[in-house]
């Protein structure tokens, strides 16, 4: 029983988490029936199971809310701010109850009782009086006939028709017929021209369809409202399309129209049947939590303890190393037969590695729920109006990274809201919209993920920061610093600029802890700000922590590893090119780029017998050349951290074991390029 109880708590927490997201959505669209339905269903499910495991209070509170939302979804009650806020409080209570084995302290007990009272019939009746006049929200469907007749040279305008059709498909239920009548004979076929026409029946409004056709000229598409039963009687439409589709006679045209509408009707019937089916099942007595999860379109998933994944990851690492050892052995001994086998093994272990890495990747939106809620709560507490705009929430990161990111991100967002964004009055005075915007942007770039948190608040005054830094003895008065350098002083330990210590931020633990956390993840942090325009904090994080594709090079007998993500090309130095290399420049694609001699950097004596090799690196949009003795080949480096003892060797980001069992250092390219 204990085990079932644990499982219940775990599932319930996930449900409550889901509910929180749903509520935040609901806040933005208070009349959306689907969302209200979703809230109702979660309450219903929780109520059903909570009692079974002795969580009577959870059962009570969900029962109360279920009643309230039942009235709302029936249209008898209008959802208002107050109800929504109470629902948020309930979510917190449920979370608390799940953690405390259904126990509450006195204060929370009062809150709890207040919420329960909300669903009293008399309370509900009172509310109903005020919300009686609400009208049915319009969920009317709009059916449109669309004919897309692109000009023959539309491709030459740089228009992507495929993307347009895909976008159109996303609008709603649709049937698409491609008309190939005018396709020319093969001999006269020009692949850069368009001969096709598209006929579409779609359940979407005219405005959004027109929007999809943004890049098409007015005479390239026709949108005409239709109704399914009378499409063949629609004279206007008939004359409109006859011009373009050239039917032999009216019968053929009617036949054609009937045909496509029937096909559409078929699709829409199938869909509606499915929906009805789900609806019917929903009413079947009490569902289990799992059933609910499956039906609400959440991806099928298996929960696995993270340690198991770590074990798997270790195993893959070993496999990758074994693969490279075998390859090395094979290269030496030259068994022709083994070629294919070794290659296959390597290919498979690489795929295996990618899949295992992928399992560990989680979309960033898993922590967005908490962040969203944080913004919501803070805005309320501080009486500020704030919109959280999220971009790239589906960007994926290693689970360990995501878990360790939540704290720092919460801190950064807190800072934005507490210090960055001004009060509504102040904003209006500055000519800004009273609503502040916190933007959360995540995107990939190379082997990194960037996360940016921006606000459009008051910004940071670099002079103040500089002064504090001087007062606290972080920098000398005489040193000149650029604005960027000044902003990045904020992350120094013990640096806090809050004039007033509030509950929200400024408790002494500040950006320095954030910086530490990010560094631990092999990430970097950068702060930029503009007075009265806002502040942005950028986090740069590695996609994953453990394996990288890399190039194995050698200087004298020293093995070094360069991450492949930086490499643009490898070259052998020609004699005449060498002349320029004396001046620490290297000619690449007709341009001179800085040349870094690795043997000098690492103070290793070069072997004269080797002709130098050049590895061309690209970082941001600049190129650099690295001079090395030998390029051995590609290598999948399993990164092993360097121990404490190597703490001051900051040009290396780690070490790895090569196929023959020897050690190689992984060069931290960014640091190298910054320092040389």
């Amino acid at each position: 029983m204990e085990e079932f109880k644990k499982k219940f708590i775990e599932d319930a927490k996930e449900l409550v988490n889901e509910l929180e997201t749903t509520l935040l959505e609901l806040e933005k669209a208070m009349t959306n029936k689907q969302i209200i339905e979703k809230v109702f269903r979660v309450m219903h499910t929780l109520k059903g199971t909570a009692g079974m495991y002795g969580f009577d209070k959870v059962g009570e509170i969900t029962h109360a809310l279920e009643n309230v939302y039942d009235e709302i979804r029936a249209g008898k009650l209008l959802l208002d701010d107050e109800i929504l806020q109470n629902t948020f409080i309930s979510v917190d209570l449920i979370n608390y109850l799940l953690n405390s084995e259904d126990k509450l302290d006195d204060n929370l007990q009062k809150e709890f009782e207040r919420i329960i009272r909300l669903s009293d019939t008399s309370e509900l009746e009172k509310r109903k009086d005020t919300s009686q006049e609400q009208t049915e929200s319009d969920t009317k469907s709009e059916l449109n006939y669309v004919l897309l007749i692109p000009n023959i040279d539309t491709f030459k305008r740089g228009v992507n028709i495929e993307a347009t059709i895909v976008e159109l498909e996303e609008l709603g239920l649709h049937y698409i017929e491609i008309i190939k009548k005018e396709l020319p004979k093969f001999e006269s076929f020009d692949p850069t021209s368009i001969y096709l026409k598209w006929e579409i029946i779609i359940n979407a409004d005219k405005e959004s369809i027109t929007d999809v056709f943004m890049f098409f000229l007015e005479d390239e598409f026709i949108i005409h409202p239709v109704s399914l039963n009378e499409i063949d009687k629609n004279k206007e439409l008939k004359s409109l399309i006859n011009k373009h589709l050239r039917f032999k006679n009216e019968e053929e045209e009617i036949e054609h129209l009937k045909n496509i509408t029937q096909k559409f009707a078929k699709i829409s019937n199938i869909k509606t049947e499915k929906l009805n089916d789900v609806e019917g099942k929903r009413k079947e007595s009490v569902q289990t939590v799992n059933q609910f999860l499956n039906k609400s379109n959440i991806q099928d998933s298996v929960r696995v303890p993270a340690t198991k994944l770590d074990d798997l990851m270790n195993l893959v690492s070993e496999l990758v190393i074994l693969g490279s050892r075998l390859e090395l052995f094979h290269d030496k001994e030259d068994y022709t037969l083994m070629d294919e086998l070794v290659e296959n093994l390597n290919k498979m272990s690489r795929n295996f590695r990618d899949i295992v890495l992928n399992i560990r990747l989680v979309p960033i939106n898993t922590i967005m729920v908490r962040l969203n809620r944080l913004v919501h709560d803070l805005a309320r507490d501080l009486d500020k109006k704030i919109d959280l705009v999220v971009e790239g929430a589906d960007t994926e990161l290693d689970k360990t990274i995501i878990n360790n990111l939540e704290g720092p991100l919460m801190h950064i967002i807190r800072n934005c809201i507490d210090h960055g964004i001004e009060s509504a009055d102040e904003r209006v005075k500055k000519g800004k919209s009273p609503k502040g915007i916190v933007r959360f942007i995540a995107f990939y770039s190379g082997a990194n993920v960037f996360i940016q948190v921006q606000d459009d608040g008051r910004g940071i005054n670099p002079d103040i920061i500089h002064q504090i830094a001087i007062d606290k003895g972080f920098v000398d008065k005489s040193t000149k610093l650029t604005e960027k350098e000044i902003y990045n002083l904020i992350v120094l330990p013990g640096f806090t600029t809050a004039k007033k210590v509030t509950e929200i931020s400024g408790r002494g633990v500040g950006m320095d802890v954030v910086k530490q956390n990010i560094s631990d993840l092999r990430g970097e942090i950068e702060i930029d700000s503009e007075i009265d325009l806002g502040t942005s904090v950028t986090l740069k994080l590695p996609l994953t922590l453990s394996i990288i594709d890399s190039l194995h090079v050698r200087i004298a007998k020293q093995n070094l590893i360069i991450p492949l993500s930086f490499i643009d090309a490898c070259e052998i130095i020609d004699e005449d090119k060498k002349i320029t290399s004396i001046h620490n420049n290297y000619e690449y694609n007709g341009k001179l780029i800085p040349l870094i001699n690795l043997s000098k950097v690492f103070k290793i004596n070069k072997e004269d017998s080797h002709k130098s090799r050049i590895v061309v690196l690209q970082y941001t949009d600049k190129y650099y050349a690295l001079e090395v003795d030998q390029i051995i080949g590609e290598h999948q480096a399993v990164i092993k951290p360097l121990g404490e003892i190597f703490g001051n060797m900051n040009l290396f980001s780690g070490a790895t074991i090569l196929g023959d069992g020897s050690l190689a250092f992984i060069i931290d390219i960014i640091k190298l390029l910054k320092e040389y």
């Binding site: 030459k156 305008r157 740089g158 890049f215 000229l217 007015e218 942007i441 921006q454």
Partner: protein, 122 residues
Amino acid sequence: MEKKTIVVVDDFENTLFVVEFTLKNNGYNVLKASNGEDALKIFDGKDIDLLVTDLNMPGIDGIELTNRVRKIEKYKYLPILMLTTETDSKKKELAREASVTGWIQKPFKMEKFLAVIEKCIK
């Protein structure tokens, strides 16, 4: 995911700055030029995903720039967006002649601008 490269051309420095800033903040790679002549130099065979150009510029204007870029084999089917103050009816006519992919009317809201860019580049 590769960063997409967008070339932005405008002789008005403010527009150039704002557009560059917005695009960069939204994860695009931006190359800019303040006139048509400089812009053409950018089209030297590198991978470019979109050209956003002003219509009215001294020297080579937006239309001519479009025509010249389209003449280069590699950029024949490049999406090209033109920034303009022209009114609606006139611009469709111009679009047809210049084989421009789409128009963005100035002044524009950044959200709308980004939406059009995203649509165009996909």
